[in-house]
């Protein structure tokens, strides 16, 4: 089974139909175990119970960047290898990535309120995640601007790759900008490195969320393929009626 075999949408649909229940089950088990472990984890000596937001927040933040990486690979698939499912993968990933980024921002903001006393701080990390969110939204706007999916796919692929080059530059500039404006940051998350009692639930949650992404992504790709089939059937029907 290679990537080329998956180029046939019917084969892809058949394979994912078998794989999806297992993936969904594994996701549910891992997330349940992770939530249980997170709930059982001891309170932090400084942050109290609010440290448990971390178990949701950190996996979301990781995935917000990981999904852009997935889309960049898919963009290469569209532009270089012309893989027929690459643009489906890229299109399906964008809203999911935006959702993870949004959740990272919201949970971070809810965590910040009791810890830093404010919902929003122009901290370097927060700001660069916010810019990432804006870029996800711009990409989704690009997908929605054009009806023809293959035309939109190539434009979105170019933008995704440009974003992949620019995002580290933006991250670096924002870091630099913040140290300039705000030398002593209250937001530094330094302190002692993570204890095992926190690390294990966090890793379980991270794997769980990654599986959740895979499940949602494959399901969204299936929906996109079916949507395109419905659209082409409708077009055929319309042209038959016209003839």
């Amino acid at each position: 089974m290679t990537l080329i075999d998956l180029a046939n949408p019917s084969k892809f649909l058949a394979l994912t139909a078998r794989a999806l229940p297992w993936l969904a089950g594994a996701t549910a088990i891992l997330l349940l175990v992770g939530c249980y472990q997170a709930a059982m984890a001891p309170d932090d000596y400084q942050q109290g119970a609010t440290v448990k937001i971390m178990f949701i927040h950190v996996p979301n933040a990781w995935l917000s960047m990981f999904v852009w990486g997935v889309m960049s690979v898919a963009a290469l698939g569209t532009l270089v290898w012309r893989h027929p499912l690459a643009d489906v993968a890229a299109k399906a990933a964008a809203p999911i990535g935006a959702a993870f980024t949004f959740l990272a921002l919201v949970t971070g903001s809810l965590w910040g309120r009791p810890m830093w006393g404010t919902y929003w701080e122009w901290d370097a990390r927060l700001t660069s995640v916010l810019v990432l969110f804006l870029m996800y939204l711009g990409l989704m706007a690009l997908w929605r601007a054009v009806e023809d999916p293959s035309r939109a796919a190539r434009a979105a692929a170019v933008l995704t790759l440009v974003g992949a080059i620019n995002l580290p530059i933006i991250k670096f500039s924002v870091d630099w900008w913040n140290t300039l404006h705000q030398p002593s940051s209250v937001l530094r998350m330094g302190g002692p490195s993570l204890d095992k009692a926190f690390l294990i639930p966090l890793l379980v949650m991270a794997v769980g969320f990654s599986l959740l992404f895979m499940t949602l992504h494959l399901a969204a790709m299936r929906n996109e393929i079916l949507r395109r089939r419905v659209r082409s059937l409708q077009m055929m029907q319309a042209s038959q009626q016209a003839a």
């Binding site: 532009l79 711009g138 706007a141 974003g163 924002v174």
Partner: protein, 222 residues
């Protein structure tokens, strides 16, 4: 080489003639800067402090507005198809078009900066610092913005979509442009560090911009 020179000369000529619209960018820049004191208040020390930021924002928005026309006019009259199919590498042609656009629309913005600095209560040293950072920074805006312009023309959409796609990409230029100007005016940081990073951003955009724009034109036009 002659083909590229001819392309640059033609683009500048079109931009400066009736219907070109390059100089409207300067007018927009002037208007935005004049609007700022109405929003902030006629407080001269405050205006002097915000001056570099206001000028950079105005230049960013002005260059964004003129970018819309970079490929659209050529697409409408068909000359873009000739450029795409021509023997000159499309990447070089894109770079030439961006250079012409910067000469016609970007340089007037820099030339207008001293006058606008006067309105914002900036002294000569501050104004020249802002103008110098713009001289090395605005090419980056044009060359990154060109990617957005190429995407917009292949999708037959422009305006707001272009702005939404290009503005996040121009954050680094804005940060280091304003930082270098501020460093020159008030310190305490050295002017050299942000200024060299600004130069580096421009150089990176010279490499990335033409390739991305050419890829998008090649894949997008039918």
């Amino acid at each position: 080489m002659t083909a590229l020179a001819a392309l640059i000369r033609r683009d500048i000529k079109i931009a400066l003639r009736v219907g070109g619209g390059a100089l409207i960018g300067v007018l927009f820049f002037l208007t935005v800067t004049v609007l700022m004191p109405f929003a902030i208040g006629p407080d001269l020390p405050l205006l002097a402090r915000l001056g570099p930021a206001i000028l950079w924002l105005g230049a960013l928005l002005a260059s964004l507005l003129t970018l819309d026309r970079l490929f659209t006019a050529d697409h409408e009259d068909g000359s873009l198809d000739v450029i795409v199919m021509g023997r000159t590498p499309l990447e070089l042609a894109c770079a030439a078009k961006a250079l012409a656009h910067w000469l016609a629309a970007g340089v007037p913005l820099i030339a207008a900066t001293p006058v606008l600095g006067l309105l914002l209560n900036l002294d000569a040293a501050a104004t020249s610092a802002v103008a110098l950072t713009m001289l090395v920074g605005t090419p980056a805006l044009t060359f990154t913005g060109m990617i957005g312009a190429a995407l917009a023309v292949t999708l037959h959409r422009g305006g707001l979509l272009l702005a939404v796609l290009v503005l996040p990409l121009s954050i680094p230029v804005l940060i280091f442009g304003v930082a270098a100007s501020q460093a020159a005016i008030t310190g305490p940081l050295s002017f050299g560090t942000p200024f060299s990073i600004l130069c580096a951003l421009s150089l990176v955009s010279f490499v990335v911009g033409p390739f991305a724009a050419a890829a998008s034109l090649r894949h997008g036009l039918d």
